[in-house]
């Protein structure tokens, strides 16, 4: 273990961390443009900005994943060369990633030992256990050492990620959107405990966040980036949410109220009854859910990720077979075959479109033709008509402003937002659309892309399309849905018209209460 590596870190106070005039270029793209930031010892510092603002690039430069094009990192007031995460670790800097980095099949204790940078050839488990127990006893929060990580809840896993860094004696914690996978309750608990450590002067925390509420509640200082440039800095106590938002977005932007027309939701389009489905590992994920979605309404399914929403969506969109249950679309049994999809006008906007709805190495045009390639005019008999496929792609690229060099470019070369737009173009451009199944359609996208996608979904609803919208973003559901259902542990545990929805009840149901 590296205990006494940082000159400035005695046992009490974490080192001072300063970034001076940092610039990072990737080819012609300037991801960071002369950004400076100061993380004072024993403070909780938030790094705010839209997607693509350069937050992740900045922390990755601090961590040594990237080498800055110019600029300095000062630890303990001295310029340091950080060539790799291992170097960063030497200076007491540790990072907790957005996604879990533990080995699910191994126990908490094994994961902690594994996380050390210098494991010895032999592990003396008895000694390790004693040491780990001693460490755990004085840690700000506890996780059972002998439990396999796979059995931990998301909040517990996130705690383990943080514990790992404390175990490695990191005095400066960098958190990359640490609460994106947690319930609000879990998030408050984890951040609250970290806040205590900071207040007691044992840690400094630099947290990337999108959530103003967390920034206002838990942090001392905030640095805002916009389009790779420094956009503002201040003490949280001097700032209002409106200030933060205007620093982040450039000008204060009200979230656009979506224009919903009044529709008569009377024709059932999607009806599913008593659906059961298993996870990949064979354990039950969906335990008997039933729902009817009518034409011209958006039914939102809320819930913390991992409560069976993904599996339910996969069943409905044909990616997974249900163990029992029936799906009926437009009054006829539905088995998600291609002809049923076509005749009933069923379309999907799955989460992670590159993984779920695109063939990465095929071209934008081919990906846009995925729904239509076997019908005239795109095919004649069994043969493709490449001209027609290209023509449609050009039209959709223009109509949905997909930024791609050419229709022939492999779709994996596009940015996330543009992949999403390409899929949206394919799924929403049909006149025949009747049912849309969307899952976290805006995950990880920035403001303008989100607004565009929301607008398109509501426009589809206004045309009489039945929409099933699964989302982990409650705000998204509250602003789009006509009816909201909460899914917890594989079952629907709450249902309400949006006007009567009670937020605190929804929150409790989501958390399994």
């Amino acid at each position: 273990m590296t205990t006494a590596s940082v000159s400035a870190s005695d046992v009490i106070s974490p080192p001072d961390l300063e970034v001076v005039n940092m610039t990072k270029q990737f080819g012609s793209l300037v991801a960071l443009d002369h950004v400076s930031m100061h993380l004072k010892p024993g403070t909780f510092h938030a790094l705010l900005g839209e997607n693509g603002a350069g937050k992740s690039t900045l922390v990755k430069c601090i961590m040594g994943f990237y080498q800055p094009t110019s600029g300095d990192v000062l630890v303990g007031k001295r310029s340091r060369e950080i060539a790799s995460p291992k170097d960063a670790h030497q200076y007491g800097i540790g990072m907790v990633y957005q996604h879990f980095t533990s080995v699910p099949a191994m126990t908490v204790a094994e994961n902690l030992v594994l996380s050390r940078f210098d494991p010895s050839v032999m592990i003396r488990w008895q000694e390790e256990r004693d040491r780990l127990q001693a460490f755990m006893d004085q840690a700000p929060f506890q996780v059972d050492l002998e439990v396999p990580v796979a059995q931990l809840a998301a909040g517990q896993k996130q705690k383990l990620e943080i514990l790992k860094q404390l175990y490695l004696n990191s005095r400066i914690l960098i958190l990359d959107e640490p609460t994106s996978v947690l319930t609000p309750g879990e998030a408050d608990e984890v951040l609250g405990l970290l806040r205590q450590e900071v207040t007691n002067g044992r840690l400094s925390v630099l947290m990337i966040s999108h959530k103003f509420r967390e920034v206002m509640t838990f942090t001392d200082e905030v640095t805002v980036l916009r389009k790779g440039k420094f956009a503002g800095h201040g003490l949280v106590k001097d700032l209002t949410i409106a200030d933060l938002s205007s620093m982040m977005l450039g000008e204060a932007r009200e979230p656009k109220i979506v224009d919903k027309v009044i529709t008569t939701a009377d024709r059932p389009v999607l009806e599913f009854t008593d659906i059961h489905a298993n996870k990949d590992n064979g354990l039950p994920a969906v335990r008997g859910t039933s729902l009817t979605v009518y034409s011209g309404e958006i039914v939102g399914i809320a819930g913390v990720s991992g409560n069976g929403q993904r599996e339910l969506v996969e069943v409905l969109s044909g990616q997974r077979s249900p163990t029992t249950g029936t799906v009926v679309v437009n009054g006829t049994p539905y088995g998600a075959t291609r002809s049923e999809m076509f005749h009933n006008g069923v379309f999907s906007l799955p989460e992670e479109p590159l993984r779920n709805a695109c063939v990465p190495h095929m071209s934008v045009a081919e990906n846009m033709a995925l729904r239509t390639f076997d019908r005239p005019p795109q095919s004649k008999g069994s043969f493709l008509r490449l001209g027609s496929i290209r023509q449609m792609a050009n039209r959709l690229i223009q109509q949905f402003s997909v930024k791609t060099p050419t229709p022939e470019t492999p779709i994996s070369h596009l940015s996330g937002g543009n992949v999403q737009r390409a899929v949206l173009a394919r799924e929403l451009s049909s006149d025949q659309i009747n049912l849309l199944i969307a899952a976290n359609p805006c995950f990880g996208l920035d403001f303008s892309a989100v607004e565009f996608i929301h607008g398109q979904i509501v426009a589809a609803r206004n045309r009489g399309v039945a929409v099933l919208l699964v989302s982990e973003d409650l705000d998204e559901l509250l602003s789009l849905a006509d009816r909201i259902v909460v899914m917890s542990d594989g079952e629907f545990v709450y249902e309400s018209a949006i006007a009567d929805a009670d937020l605190s009840t929804i929150g409790q149901r989501m958390a399994g209460h």
Binding site: G27, G52, F373, S382, F383
Partner: protein
């Protein structure tokens, strides 16, 4: 962002050619260690393969079964399956063709018998690899392993049949089936000693290319091969595609078996199991599973296969030396796969556009 299609298209050419060049260099090193002059060996291989019109014809004769058998790996590869059961499908195809040819005898016009023999060979090979596809889809059995093991079953089946039920008692040293009637043998292209199998091979490669690139079936197969989750969301029948493409793949190798018995051996015996199946795997990989490229590479590999004798005669290297060359070439080709996207020259743009996990760097500049 700039887009340069020619650059993207030239990447596989440059990398494959580079891999073959490295294979040549390593093979030269091997020859030098074995006491032969590498450049002399290169020269001999070239002469043996392409040195004269007669030798080119010999090379093309070897290339025809390689083209067909390569498709057995190349077609399923577009669906993401790694099938190496070419040898087995070729063997059962040959047996099927002989069985058909012998049972029909001279009762029908030769052209009809040949057609039925070809169909029998294709169905036998097709079912053989079709089983692999079905096992894969319905029982999740790894298709590479099962197709490999199916090779042994096919060879054992061949040995059993030619040693027992189908044995011609007059074949003493080398148990064989009864010979096909001379009239039913595939003839040669006019003015050459190249049999019609070459035409089969070229046509099959052309048809396979059109099938994959230009038909809705090929589009569906490429989609399922590129991302099965996307294929499912589009409602494509992934299982049926897998079984169908495996059947077609096996049918190509089965046709190769038919060509071997009906144009070369006249009987089915252990000569069927002469390594064209394994050579086909090499051809498919070098061609990056592109059927048109496979036709060309098959000629190249056919030339190398045919040069074993000359290496023995003029350089006193064992004739299995060419297998070493094939092996080295296979390794360098497999290795070269890891270079795609890594050579800075072919980068269209800095791919590591960094930050957020699902970024939209372009979007923010709107």
């Amino acid at each position: 962002m700039r887009d340069t299609p020619w650059l993207r298209k030239s990447e596989p050419l440059v990398i494959s050619a580079g891999a073959i060049a490295v294979a040549l260099a390593l093979f030269g090193l091997f020859c030098a260690i074995a006491g032969a002059n590498p450049f002399g060996v290169y020269g001999s291989i070239y002469t043996a393969a392409f040195g004269s019109s007669s030798r080119i014809q010999g090379t093309l004769i070897l290339a025809s079964p390689l083209m067909l058998s390569a498709l057995c790996t190349a077609l399923p590869a577009r669906l993401g399956l790694v099938i190496i059961g070419n040898e087995g499908a070729l063997v059962v195809g040959g047996v099927g063709a002989v069985a058909m040819g012998l049972s029909l005898g001279t009762s029908l016009p030769p052209l009809l018998v040949q057609t039925l023999m070809a169909i029998a060979g294709m169905v036998a090979g097709g079912v053989w690899i079709g089983i692999v596809g079905a096992l894969r889809h319905y029982r999740a059995v790894n298709e590479t392993i099962s197709s490999l093991l199916m090779n042994y079953i096919a060879i054992a089946l061949l040995n059993h049949l030619v040693g027992g039920p189908m044995r011609d008692p007059s074949s003493l040293n080398k148990p064989s089936t009864f010979p096909l009637a001379a009239a039913n043998m595939l003839g040669n292209l006019p003015g050459t000693r190249i049999h019609y199998g070459l035409i089969f091979g070229l046509v099959a490669c052309g048809v396979a290319y059109v099938l994959i690139q230009r038909t809705t079936f090929g589009f569906a197969a490429r989609t399922a091969g590129g991302n099965v989750r996307a294929a499912r969301i589009a409602g494509l029948p992934v299982g049926r595609l897998a079984v169908t493409i495996c059947f077609l793949a096996g049918a190509c190798a089965g046709l190769a078996g038919m060509v071997e018995v009906a144009a070369v051996h006249g009987v089915a015996n252990e000569s069927l199991n002469a390594g064209y199946g394994y050579g086909g795997i090499l051809v498919a990989f070098v061609a990056r599973h592109n059927p048109l490229a496979a036709a060309l590479i098959a000629v190249l590999v056919g030339g190398i296969v045919g040069s074993g004798g000359i290496l023995q005669r003029t350089h006193s290297l064992p004739d299995a030396t060419v297998l070493i060359f094939q092996g080295i070439m296979f390794l360098t080709i497999l290795y070269s796969d890891s270079l795609y996207g890594k050579l800075a020259f072919f980068r269209e743009q800095p791919v590591d556009i960094p930050p957020d996990p699902t970024p939209a760097a372009v979007e923010t500049t709107v």
